[in-house]
C-alpha cells in the first residue's frame, strides 16, 4: 500500500511522471530521465498547460492553485553586481559616448564588454517564475535541508517543531521576511534526514537475506555500546574535585583501554545472545545513573554515591564471568599484568581512545531514538543536498536565516528548479493570463 502511494506520487510511468520536492530515490530517477515535454503539433495553450502542470507538481504541489495565483508576481527580481573599482574609475559617461552606446572597438574583441563592467551572459529571468514560493516557511525549511520533503517540512511547522525568531510558528504558509531566523527541532531533523530505524520486520527480512552481514552489524552495535558505557563515566567525573578527578579519570581511561583491547581481540561473532543481553542491561543501568546525575546535578554527596555505584558497575562489567570468554579472560589478565609493568598508558592509544569516546558522545547508539543509531544520512540524500544562496544555514543547531528574497543575476537564477528555462517560460506565460 505504501509503495503504491509513493509510486503514484512520483509516477514511474513516463506519461505521468512528476518531479517532486522530495529526496526519494524514485524522484532521483525521474530527474535523471527527465525530458522536456514535446511542443511540436501542439497548440500554445496545450504547451502552457503541460508546462504549468509539470512545474506546479514540483513547486508547492501541496499549495492550492488559488493561493499560488495570489502569490504569483509578474515582476521578476534581479540584481547586477557593480564592481567598486570600475565605478571608482568611471562615472558611466563612457558607456554613453559616441552614438550613445560606447565608442566602437575592433570587431571580435570582448574587451568592450569587459571595459564597460558588463558581462555578456544573459540573466535567466524565467527561472524565477516560482520565486515567491521560496518565501514560504515550509519550503524554506526544505531548502535548508532540515526535512526530506516539502510536505514533511510542512508537517514540522504544523506540529510546532519550527520557530521563527525564537517564537513557535505553526503556519507553514508564513512568508519569511529578510532577516528572519528559523530553527527546527534537532531531533526532528535527525529523524527526517537519518536512516530508518531497524524494526523487527526489517530485521527478519534481513536475516533471511544476509545473515552474515547482520552478525557484523550486531557486533558493531556491541562495540558501540561498550564505548558508550565508557563515555558516560567522564560525565560523572566532571562533578568531582580536581585532585580526585584526575586519579579517577586515569583509572577510567585505563579500564576503557582494557575493554577496547578486549573487544578488538575478541572475535565479534563469538558473543552469544545472552552475553549481548547482559551487556545491554548493564548499559541501561549506567544510562539511568547518568540521567540521575543530570537531574540532581551539583549535589556532591549524591554524585559521589553515583560515581561509586558506577565504578562498581564498571568493575562488574569487566569481571562479569558471563561476559568473558575463558581465553579472553586469560588474555585480559595478562594485559593487566603488562599494564602494571608498564605503569603508564601509551599516549597514542590514549589519544585514539579519546577520539573514539568523543565520536561516541557526538553520535551515540541509543535505542530510544526514532532513527537508526549511530545516526547516518539516509540513502540517496547526497544528490539533493544543496543550499541556495538566499539562505545562510548553521547545521550544528539546525538554524537558518532567510537573508533576502531569491534573485536572478547574470547566468544564475537562485530558485532551485529542475526545469529548463523554456518550460518555466511557458509556465510563466500561463500565469500571466494573457491569451
Amino acid at each position: 500500500m505504501k509503495y503504491r502511494r509513493i509510486a503514484r506520487f512520483h509516477g514511474l510511468n513516463p506519461k505521468r511522471t512528476r518531479i517532486r520536492q522530495t529526496w526519494n530515490k524514485y524522484n532521483l530517477y525521474n530527474i535523471f530521465k527527465q525530458n522536456d515535454p514535446r511542443v511540436v503539433h501542439r497548440t500554445f495553450f496545450q504547451q502552457k498547460w503541460t508546462a504549468k502542470a509539470n512545474t506546479r507538481a514540483y513547486h508547492g504541489e501541496h499549495i492550492r492553485e488559488r493561493t499560488w495565483q495570489r502569490m504569483f508576481s509578474r515582476r521578476l527580481p534581479s540584481v547586477v553586481a557593480m564592481e567598486p573599482s570600475y565605478m571608482a574609475k568611471h562615472d558611466g559617461s563612457e558607456q554613453a559616448a559616441g552614438r550613445g552606446s560606447g565608442r566602437d572597438m575592433p570587431i571580435g574583441t570582448e574587451e568592450k564588454a569587459i571595459r564597460n563592467g558588463n558581462s555578456t551572459t544573459p540573466t535567466p529571468f524565467m527561472q524565477m517564475t516560482y520565486a515567491p514560493m521560496e518565501r514560504r516557511l515550509d519550503i524554506a525549511v526544505f531548502r535548508a535541508l532540515f526535512a526530506s520533503s516539502a510536505r514533511q517540512a510542512r508537517q514540522f511547522c504544523v506540529h510546532g517543531a519550527v520557530t521563527v525568531n525564537g517564537m513557535k510558528m505553526r503556519y507553514p504558509g508564513y512568508l519569511l521576511n529578510p532577516g528572519d531566523l528559523f530553527q527546527v527541532n534537532v531531533e526532528r531533523v535527525l529523524t527526517a534526514t537519518g536512516c530508518k530505524k531497524e524494526t523487527t520486520k526489517n530485521k527478519t527480512k534481513k536475516n533471511s537475506a544476509a545473515a552474515a552481514e547482520d552478525a557484523e552489524d550486531a557486533a558493531e552495535e556491541v562495540d558501540g555500546e561498550e564505548a558508550k558505557s565508557s563515555e558516560e563515566t567522564p560525565k560523572a567525573e566532571v562533578q568531582l574535585d580536581e585532585a580526585a578527578e584526575k586519579d579517577r579519570q586515569l583509572a577510567v581511561l585505563r579500564r576503557c583501554r582494557k575493554r577496547a583491547k578486549y573487544i578488538s581481540q575478541t572475535p565479534s561473532a563469538d558473543l552469544s545472545a545472552k552475553q549481548k543481553k547482559a551487556l545491554r542491561s548493564l548499559i541501561k543501568e549506567v544510562e539511568s545513573t547518568a540521567s540521575i546525575i543530570a537531574r540532581r546535578g551539583g549535589d556532591a554527596k549524591q554524585t559521589g554515591d553515583v560515581v561509586d555505584k558506577m565504578t562498581a558497575l564498571m568493575d562488574k562489567l569487566d569481571l562479569k564471568p558471563a561476559l568473558l570468554e575463558p581465553e579472553a579472560k586469560e588474555k585480559k589478565e595478562q594485559e593487566a599484568k603488562d599494564a602494571i609493568e608498564a605503569k603508564d598508558l601509551a599516549l597514542e592509544e590514549e589519544r585514539i581512545l579519546k577520539e573514539l569516546i568523543e565520536q561516541e558522545r557526538e553520535n551515540p547508539i541509543d535505542s530510544s531514538k526514532p532513527y537508526y543509531t549511530p545516526w547516518k544520512p539516509r540513502p540517496y540524500m547526497a544528490p539533493f543536498a544543496f543550499i541556495p544562496r538566499y539562505l545562510e544555514v548553521n547545521p550544528n543547531i539546525c538554524a537558518a536565516v532567510y537573508l533576502r528574497h531569491p534573485v536572478a543575476r547574470q547566468g544564475r537564477a537562485e530558485v532551485p528548479t529542475p526545469f529548463s528555462p523554456g518550460l518555466n517560460q511557458l509556465a510563466f506565460n500561463w500565469y500571466l493570463r494573457r491569451g
Binding site: 503504491r4 509513493i6 503514484r8 506520487f9 514511474l12 510511468n13 530517477y29 535523471f32 530521465k33 527580481p77 534581479s78 540584481v79 547586477v80 553586481a81 557593480m82 567598486p84 565605478m87 571608482a88 574609475k89 562615472d91 558611466g92 552614438r99 527561472q127 510536505r151 514533511q152 525568531n165 517564537m167 503556519y171 504558509g173 508564513y174 521576511n177 529578510p178 531566523l181 534537532v186 531533523v189 535527525l190 537519518g194 557526538e362 547516518k376 540517496y380 540524500m381 547526497a382 543536498a385 544543496f386 543550499i387 545562510e392 544555514v393 548553521n394 550544528n396 543547531i397 536565516v401 537573508l403 534573485v407 543575476r409 547566468g411 537562485e414 532551485p416 528548479t417 529548463s420 528555462p421
Partner: protein, 357 residues
C-alpha cells in the same frame, strides 16, 4: 505525505479478503491434495480450485499470486525494470554518502564537476557554503576583534547580511554549548561532506559579490533619450532619465565606502592609509546606524507608560483616535468604528502573521 489514493469500492477488497471470501464460500478440499500445499509459497489459506497444469507453472514465478488467480503476473513492469537498472548502475554512487559533493548533473556532463543538481537546468548550481572554519573566522573578527561588519564583508567578499546572520547563529550555538544542549553534530558532518564548502582562503574564488544593486523595474524598459553628443551622460543622468525617484547605482551600493577606497588609491594615497580611512568610515557609518536605532527606541519609549502590577506589566501608548485615514478604515486605526466589522468577523481574513519580532 503523498495524497491518499481514491479507490473505487470494488477495489477496496484486497487480496487476503478476497481469498477469505472464496474460502468461506467453498470449503477447502486442499488437505487431500499434496500439490496444493507445495504450490502456495507463503499464504496458509491455500487455494481450493487450482488446476494441476497451472500449478506446475507456478514455482517458476517469484511473485506471489492471488490464490484464485490462474494467470501468472509479470515480474516487473518495464518502467520498474528501468528504474532498478538505474539504481544499480548510475544511482549506485548516490546511495551511500559519497564523502564529496555529487550531483546528477555531473553524471551526464563532462569530467570537470559542474555541481549541477538538475541536469535540465543549467542556470542552477550548488554553490559553496561557508565552512565551519570560515564561520568561526567571521565570528572572531566581529565579536573578538571588534571589526565593523562592512569591513569584514568587504575583506572576505561575503554579503553583509550573511555576515550578520553568521554571527547571530554562532552566538546561539555558543549559548547551546554553555547550556550543554546537544547539537546535531553527525548531521552537520554529513551536510559538510555533501555540500561544497568555501573556507574564505585567498586561493579560492571570491565567495559572492558584495555590491549587488537591485534592478528597478523602471529601468528594465528601453528608453530613447535625446542628448547631445558632446554631453557627458553619467549614471546619475541616466537614473534621472528613468524617473525622478530612481537612484543611481552609486547611491544604491551596499558598501559605498569601498568606492571611496578605490578612488583614494587611484589618487595616489598609500594603500594602508586608504584602508585605514576606509575602516574609520565603515566604523563611523555603523555608529550612526546604532545611534539612529537608539533614538528611535527612546522616542518609542517616551510615548509609552509602563505600569507594573506585579503579575503583569501594562503598557499604555499615546494614540490619536482621529487618525483613521481617508475613509475611516485605515489598517492602523484603533477602536470601534461604525460599519467596520471586527477582524475576527471579517470574511476570508488571513490570520497568518506577517512578521515575527
Amino acid at each position: 505525505m503523498p495524497p491518499r489514493i481514491r479507490s473505487s469500492p470494488g477495489l477496496l477488497l484486497n487480496r487476503a479478503e478476497t481469498s477469505v471470501l472464496l474460502h468461506n464460500a467453498q470449503p477447502s478440499p486442499a488437505a487431500g491434495r499434496p500439490w496444493a500445499a507445495a504450490a502456495t509459497t507463503s499464504s496458509s489459506s491455500s487455494s481450493s480450485h487450482y488446476s494441476p497444469q497451472c500449478v506446475s507453472l507456478l514455482p517458476q514465478h517469484h511473485q506471489q499470486t492471488s490464490s484464485f488467480s490462474t494467470t501468472a503476473s509479470r515480474d516487473l513492469s518495464r518502467n520498474r525494470t528501468k528504474f532498478w537498472a538505474f539504481l544499480k548502475k548510475e544511482g549506485r554512487d548516490f546511495k551511500n554518502a559519497p564523502g564529496e559533493p555529487k550531483y546528477l548533473g555531473d553524471l551526464k556532463g563532462s569530467k570537470e564537476k559542474r555541481h549541477a543538481p538538475f541536469p535540465n537546468n543549467p542556470t542552477y548550481k550548488s554553490e559553496p557554503v561557508l565552512s565551519d572554519v570560515a564561520r568561526e573566522t567571521i565570528w572572531r573578527e566581529i565579536m573578538k576583534q571588534g571589526m565593523p561588519l562592512k569591513a569584514v564583508s568587504a575583506k572576505y567578499s561575503v554579503d553583509m547580511r550573511r555576515v550578520a546572520a553568521v554571527v547571530r547563529m554562532k552566538e546561539i550555538e555558543r549559548q547551546w554549548e554553555a547550556d550543554h544542549k546537544p547539537k546535531a553534530l553527525p548531521y552537520a558532518k554529513a551536510i559538510t561532506s555533501m555540500v561544497p564548502q568555501h573556507s574564505l582562503s585567498e586561493r579560492e574564488q571570491p565567495f559572492e559579490p558584495v555590491n549587488d544593486v537591485h534592478v528597478h523595474s523602471y529601468t528594465q524598459q528601453q528608453l530613447f533619450w535625446p542628448a547631445s553628443e558632446s554631453r557627458e551622460f553619467t549614471r546619475k543622468d541616466a537614473a534621472e532619465a528613468f524617473g525622478e525617484h530612481i537612484l543611481p547605482p552609486d547611491e544604491k551600493m551596499r558598501i559605498p565606502e569601498l568606492m571611496q577606497l578605490e578612488k583614494d588609491i587611484n589618487a595616489g594615497v598609500e594603500k594602508h592609509e586608504a584602508y585605514k580611512s576606509f575602516l574609520d568610515a565603515t566604523r563611523e557609518s555603523e555608529l550612526q546606524i546604532a545611534n539612529r536605532e537608539r533614538t528611535r527606541l527612546m522616542k518609542e519609549e517616551a510615548n509609552k507608560t509602563r505600569v507594573d502590577s506585579g503579575r503583569f506589566e501594562f503598557r499604555f501608548e499615546r494614540f490619536n483616535a482621529d487618525n483613521v485615514g481617508k475613509n475611516g478604515r485605515a489598517r492602523k486605526a484603533v477602536g470601534w468604528r461604525y460599519g467596520v466589522p471586527f477582524s475576527d468577523r471579517r470574511r476570508a481574513e488571513v490570520k497568518i502573521p506577517t512578521k515575527m519580532e
